[in-house]
Symmetry: C2
Subunit: 304 residues, 2 copies
C-alpha cells in the first residue's frame, strides 16, 4: 500500500509546486485522488501508468483539485484507452467535463462513468473483495468529500509448515485461506485453525482535504494507518483558516490525536510559506507521528 | 515586438514539452495567444507579469489550446487582479468558463469580458492607436481562428538635427510626428517634410494554428514579418495531416512562400518526433527563412 503525492500545495500551480493530486496503490488498484492542473505531467514524472488508473476521486470543485481532470480524460482518449473510467465527484462535475468534450467535438473511445455525489453522510463509492472506498463528508466553502480507503483482509495466512507436512495439494489453498477445514484421504478432518494464522490487519488511508477543523470526522477516520489532513495555514494565521474554512497544522494534529490514527501526513500548504518544516514542528506539539507531504514523494503504508 | 513561445507541441502536456501558448509583446501590450494546460507555470518561467495580460486570444476549443484558461482566470482572481480581462474565442467558451466558476462558488473581482467569435470571414477584434488584431479564419476539425497582429506606425520620425537647429520647443513634437507644419515666431512656415522622416514600416505577426493546408489564408497574411504556421507532421505523414486537418512542414513553407512573408516559425509539433530539426530541413527546401519554435524561446521581430 503506497501513497504518491503528486501535488500538495494550495491555490495555483507554480514553477516548483503543484496543487493537489495523489495516487494510492492498494491491492492492485491505482486510485487517483484529486486532479489539479499539471497532474498529467506529475503522473509521468512518477512513472505511473496512465492505463492503470480506472478510478478517479474528486473531493470538490475548486480548481486546485480538479482543473487537470479534463486534460487527463482527453489524454486517455489520445492514448486510445479502452478500459472503463469511473469518476467520483460532486454533482456538477459531469456537466463540466461533457460540455468541454462536446466543444472540442470529442468522444471518448472508452466508457466514462460519472458517479455524482450529493450525500452529506458517508457512503460507499467502491467495493470489491479486497478494497472498500467510502466518503468522509467534509466542511469547506463548497460541497466536499474526503475519502477513506480500506483494505479488506479476509484471507487467513497459510501455515506453510503444517500444510507441507500434511501434503495438502495447492488446489485446496484458497479454501483454506477462506477458513475451510480439510478432510485428508485417510478421512482425518484437519480444522482450519491448524492450517492458518490470523489475517494481517487491514490497512486504511484517510484523505481529508479541503476542510476546516471539524471533529465530526473523528469517528469516520478512527484508527486509520495514515491520515492526510490539510493544513493550509499555521496556527498564527488561524484567522485565515477560519475565514476560508481551511485548517492549521495544530488543528490537523488535534484531529489525528482524537481519531487515534497511526500517522499523520500534512499537506495543502499555502504557498505563502517559504518552508513547510514549521508545520511539522507545530503538529508534533500535539501528535507524535507527523510527516510532511512533498510533490513527487512516496509514502509506504506498512503492514502492522 | 517580441514573441515568447510558452508551448509549441500538439496534444498533451508532457514532462519536457508543453502544448500551445504564446505571448506577443507589441507596443506596450502583452497579448496571450492560446492557453493550454500548464501555461501559468510557463508564464512564470518566462517571468511575464500576470497583471500585464489584459487580452487573451483563443484559437479553438481543443484542449491543447485552452485547458489552461480556467486556471489562469482563477489565479488572476487569487492575485486580486483589478484590470479588465478580455477573452476572445469561439462561441461556447464563455459557458465553459462560467460553469466552472459557478461550480467553485467563485466570482472574479475584476471585469471579465468574453468576445465570442462565430464569423467565418476576417474581423477586427481589437484596435487602438498603435495596434490592430484581427482574425484569420482557419480550416480545422472545429471552428478555429488564427490571429493577425499589426502595428500601426502613424507617427513620423522626428528629424532631430533640423528641429534642434530651428530651436523648436518639445511641446510641438507630437504635432510634428503626426504630420503638422510649424510656424516659427518670425512667421516662417516650415513644412513637415523638412522636420521628419517617413515612419518605420509597421510590423506584423500572423498566428495560424491549428489548420490544414489552406491557400485561402494567403491574402490575409501577405507580407507579414513573422508567420507562425502549425506543422504537426512531416511530409511523409501527410496522410495523417490530411485526416486530422493539420499541416506538414512542407505545406507550412508553401503557404509562407505564396504569402511572401519575411520569416516562418514552425510549431505545434506532434510529440511522435524525437527531434524537430527535420521540420526545418523540410521547410527550407521551399522557403529560406525558417525557425523552429521551442518552449520558452523568445523571437524578436526586428524593425525593417
Amino acid at each position: 500500500m503506497k501513497l504518491t503525492v503528486l501535488g500538495c500545495y494550495a491555490a495555483t500551480p507554480r514553477t516548483f509546486s503543484n496543487p493537489t493530486a495523489q495516487v494510492l496503490e492498494i491491492k492492485n488498484h491505482i486510485f487517483l485522488i484529486d486532479c489539479a492542473e499539471g497532474t498529467q505531467v506529475q503522473l509521468r514524472k512518477s512513472k505511473i501508468k496512465f492505463s492503470k488508473i480506472n478510478h478517479i476521486f474528486i473531493s470538490h470543485l475548486h480548481g486546485d483539485h480538479f482543473y487537470g481532470l479534463i486534460g487527463l480524460i482527453s489524454t486517455f482518449m489520445l492514448l486510445n484507452r479502452e478500459n472503463d473510467l469511473h469518476v467520483y465527484g460532486p454533482k456538477g462535475i459531469k456537466e463540466i467535463i461533457l460540455l468541454q468534450l462536446r466543444a472540442s467535438g470529442s468522444y471518448t473511445g472508452y466508457n466514462l462513468y460519472f458517479h455524482e455525489l450529493e450525500s452529506t453522510t458517508s457512503e460507499i463509492l467502491y467495493e470489491d473483495e479486497k478494497v472498500r472506498v467510502s466518503t468522509i463528508p467534509l466542511h469547506h466553502r463548497v460541497y466536499t468529500n474526503g475519502f477513506l480507503f480500506q483494505e479488506k483482509n479476509k484471507e487467513r495466512k497459510l501455515n506453510i509448515p503444517a500444510i507441507t507436512e500434511l501434503e495438502i495439494e495447492p488446489v485446496y489453498f484458497r479454501k483454506i485461506q477462506y477458513g475451510g477445514d480439510i478432510t485428508l484421504e485417510d478421512g482425518r478432518v484437519i480444522p482450519n485453525a491448524d492450517l492458518t494464522f490470523d489475517p494481517a490487519v487491514a490497512r486504511s488511508y484517510a484523505y481529508c482535504s479541503d476542510t476546516c477543523y471539524d471533529e465530526r470526522i473523528v469517528p469516520l477516520i478512527h484508527g486509520v494507518d495514515l491520515l492526510y489532513h490539510e493544513s493550509t495555514f499555521l496556527e498564527n494565521e488561524s484567522h485565515l483558516a477560519e475565514r476560508t474554512l481551511h485548517a492549521t497544522a495544530k488543528q490537523a494534529a488535534s484531529i489525528a490525536k482524537q481519531a487515534e490514527v497511526h500517522q499523520l501526513l500534512l499537506g495543502h500548504f499555502s504557498t505563502r510559506y517559504g518552508s513547510t518544516e514549521p508545520f511539522k514542528t507545530e503538529a508534533e506539539s500535539i501528535f507524535p507521528q507527523v510527516w510532511l507531504a512533498e510533490d513527487g514523494k512516496e509514502f509506504e503504508i506498512p503492514q502492522r
